[in-house]
């Protein structure tokens, strides 16, 4: 019996080990590759063999990559600010005010977040051309509203609905207007939810590819995912794996640190957006 339980424990931890290795190994291998150049790149190594920073130097001294990172930072932050601003007031109305058609409105917003992005691509392309923002960051900021806004509204609405009625009643008795109630009563309570949704929206905007690929036409206006996807070597037939991995590590490490740091909040936000909605 005792031997059985030892065997059970061992196989359980073995399973855990398999899960962790499967999850972490590809990124570990990307880091390993990013430090290799020349022929070392084309030998399969399981453990670090060299620490050559030249791939990182190539990426960071390249003409466009730093610019692409700045583009992504600007686009993702502006998208988040814009989405949160619109979502806070909207979710107050959806969570705290009774009106007819509220349930239907919520379902419509949820439906928008399920849109296949390709279905709006042609129409958005026309709109962006019409507004004259093709090949500028604003094209992405505008189009990213389609997936950040429904998501933030949905999560913030769930969060606001769970806040007690009393806090609002006191303010109503004092004659506060809805705007004052939002900014003075709810906003201070909502920081945790705002951080979570903001972070998830940021990650979504940072990673987006289809719109960024379609609405940019020059190397300097590309975002990071597009730049990495289209990174090419000296010749057409030579893929610069070392530099691609270095660029990948550069854009992924900050994201992973953020995710690990805000782990609990992110899991809560994901499940609020997923299980409840």
């Amino acid at each position: 019996m005792n031997a059985m339980s030892v065997l059970k424990t061992i196989s359980f931890y073995l399973l855990v080990l398999v899960i962790v290795v499967f999850a972490v190994f590809p990124f570990y291998y990307a880091i390993l590759t990013s430090f290799e150049t020349g022929t070392a790149l084309f030998e399969v190594n399981y453990l670090p063999q060299s620490f050559d920073w030249s791939n990182y130097a190539t990426v960071l001294n390249g003409r466009n990559f730093p610019r692409n990172v700045l583009n992504s930072v600007f686009i993702a932050s502006t998208t988040v600010i814009f989405a949160l601003f619109l979502a806070v007031t909207a979710s107050y109305a959806l969570a705290r005010v009774r009106f007819r058609g509220r349930g239907l409105l919520l379902m419509t917003i949820l439906a928008v977040s399920m849109f296949p992005q390709i279905a709006v691509l042609a129409g958005l392309f026309e709109l962006i051309r019409f507004l004259g923002i093709f090949n500028t960051p604003w094209a992405m900021i505008l189009s990213y509203v389609i997936f950040t806004l429904p998501f933030t509204v949905w999560v913030l609405t769930t969060f606001m609905r769970d806040l007690p009625v009393e806090i609002e009643e006191a303010a109503i008795v004092d004659g506060a207007t809805p705007w004052i109630i939002i900014t003075k009563v709810f906003l201070p309570l909502m920081w945790p939810a705002l951080v979570t949704t903001g972070l998830l929206a940021f990650i979504g905007a940072w990673n987006e590819f289809l719109f960024a690929l379609t609405f940019t036409s020059s190397e300097t206006t590309r975002t990071v995912p597009v730049a990495i996807a289209l990174l090419s070597g000296a010749s057409q037939y030579e893929t610069p794996w070392g530099t691609i991995m270095a660029a990948s590590v550069i854009v992924t490490v900050p994201l992973i640190l953020l995710v690990l740091f805000f782990q609990r909040k992110i899991v809560a936000g994901l499940t609020a957006g997923g299980v409840k909605g």
Partner: protein, 315 residues
């Protein structure tokens, strides 16, 4: 109401301000979602081209299906609905979606069951499985493209060493394995998300149920199928539809991993090709309209047949 005398007017005032609070969001969503969708559908009935967005003429259903009878009596069918490339893409998308979501659900549930147990280092494992989720899809596609490289890839090396294969496989280039390659990467990337959603569902099950089952001496496998599975089913159903919708519109992973393989071209890929690369703007619009219709029908059927409660007590 705290103030009965001003009850109705207060209610009215709140409803009015609610309208103004909702208006900016609704206008924004109309501009980026509803209007472009309507325009896409409109384009699909015209002969618009990329270089002449406003010069398109109404041509009815010709982009979908046109039947012309020549004088010789031969009938010519044209349009997306008789385009073998389109049906290949439909088949690829469906195959990819069903396979990936099934594998991810099973694996995700397994990982969630592991994470639901109490053990040392659980927090660390949960952090580790968040890593694939946090990595941008393009980056994971590139990382795996390197690992799946036919000559220098580590996966071939591992499998050769273990004796699983006798010669190196061109994972992404060969038609037989391209879909497998895409599935491997997608499973790696999205199983964590599935696992977290399943875990949230599992944690809502009260622990006493398991205690009672153990006291009664019921076999764990039976407990899983009779207790755990029915209780996580609602959470699972919602997770599955979210993943399914993501899978049906997959674009970026395939665009980077297997760009030119007909074995993995999905509806999104082929629509964009026609829209932007091949200058068949209207034809591509028709294909994206069809994709939208397929997804809409699928969601309605799923919610209707599965009796999924998406509102989460929204009323």
């Amino acid at each position: 109401m705290p103030n009965p005398d001003h009850g109705p007017s207060l209610q009215q005032q709140r409803a009015r301000s609610a309208f103004w609070f909702l208006a900016p969001m609704l206008i924004a969503l109309f501009c980026v979602a509803a209007w472009p969708l309507l325009r896409t559908i409109w384009f699909s009935f015209t002969d618009t081209t990329l270089s002449n967005l406003y010069g398109g003429k109404w041509i009815g259903f010709d982009n979908y299906l046109s039947i012309r009878t020549l004088e010789s009596g031969r009938v010519i069918y044209r349009g997306t609905l008789v385009d073998p490339a389109w049906w290949n893409a439909v088949w690829n998308t469906v195959r990819f979606s069903v396979l990936s979501v099934t594998i991810e659900t099973v694996l995700g549930l397994m990982v969630a069951l592991v994470l639901n147990a109490e053990f040392k280092g659980r927090g660390l494992v949960r952090a580790a499985i968040l890593i694939p989720w946090a990595i941008p899809t393009i980056v994971s596609a590139k990382m795996w493209a390197w690992m799946l490289n036919d000559q220098f890839g580590i996966l071939n090396d591992i499998m050769l060493r273990l004796g699983l294969i006798t010669e190196k496989i061109a994972w992404t280039a060969s038609t037989e394995t391209a879909m497998t390659a895409v599935l491997i990467v997608d499973v790696w990337k999205t199983t964590p998300f599935m696992a977290l959603l399943c875990l949230a569902g599992l944690q809502m099950i009260p622990r006493d149920i398991y205690e009672a089952a153990r006291v009664d001496g019921i076999h764990p496998v039976k407990v899983f199928f009779k207790v755990t599975l029915p209780l996580v089913r609602p959470a699972l159903m919602v997770a599955v539809i979210f993943r399914m919708l993501d899978a049906l519109r997959i674009f970026d992973l395939i665009y980077v991993l297997t760009p030119n393989s007909a074995a993995t071209k999905t509806m999104s890929i082929i629509s964009r090709e026609n829209l932007i690369d091949f200058d068949k703007f209207a034809y591509g619009s028709a294909q994206s309209t069809l994709l939208f219709a397929i997804i809409a029908i699928f969601v309605s059927l799923y919610i209707w047949l599965g009796k999924v409660d998406l509102s989460g007590g929204g009323k």
